[in-house]
Symmetry: C2
Subunit: 118 residues, 2 copies
DNA sequence: TGAATAATATAGCTAATGCTATATCATGGT
DNA sequence: ACCATGATATAGCATTAGCTATATTATTCA
């Protein structure tokens, strides 16, 4: 979950200049206390910071995680589409699948896609 | 989790003629009370039955689930290998990935594999 | 400025998944 | 037949992820 949160927070900051708890909750389809609690966990683990009633910010570790997660997400979506999954299914499935794909498999995905492009 | 349990119980019955709680726990790398609790949930949801101190048995619904899960698992492993993932990574990753692959994507996997075979 | 609204925070509940520790039941070997 | 051992069951605890309900703080607008 922390991975999803960091990715989303990075997205929101890029899009809106800030990441509010309520937007995070909305985008994840979750009640805000749930988001608040997970954000507290992000802080506890040094991935995010927040001042009360201000937005959420990522630490360096949080940004690094967000970047890694975003790249992995794209790779998974692209691979699924490359083997014939409908775009919508690929996007939806990737959300769950991405958390279980090892480095070795990701590398294979990347190589496969490069071959396909050529 | 229920999916993993039904699949494993079916495996154990096929291999040993019975599925004991302790073997389930061992195979899943979990303490036995954890397995006991999840088996209780299987029973509650009509997927399994058990008489105290006897083995665990699947209901029809449980068997159906086990079959579906096993086929899906193989499809995911085969697809991962087909795109170049090392066999071990494919086996390990499939364990998590399989729970997030939609019908549409599974069909794509199946078609892709058939094309590759030809 | 003050009040309404929107956002955030907090408290307290449920369920799933995990654990350790303890107690009970079954079985096998002497 | 009995007892040790192994399997099972039960109790109690922690964490994560979710919820509703309530309270508090910011902001906006009249």
């Amino acid at each position: 979950m922390l991975e999803d949160y960091t990715e989303l927070i990075a997205d929101l900051i890029a899009a809106n200049g800030e990441a509010r708890t309520i937007d995070i909750a909305r985008r994840l389809g979750v009640a805000h206390p749930t988001a608040t609690k997970t954000i507290a966990r992000l802080k506890r683990e040094g991935l995010a910071t927040a001042r009360p009633y201000r937005g959420i910010f990522l630490t360096e570790a949080g940004e690094a995680m967000a970047k890694r997660v975003r790249e992995r997400h794209r790779l998974v979506v692209d691979l699924l589409i490359a083997v014939g999954a409908p775009r919508e299914a690929a996007e939806a499935d990737a959300e769950g699948v991405e958390h279980y794909v090892s480095q070795a498999t990701l590398r294979a995905f990347s190589d496969f896609l490069r071959r396909r492009e050529a």
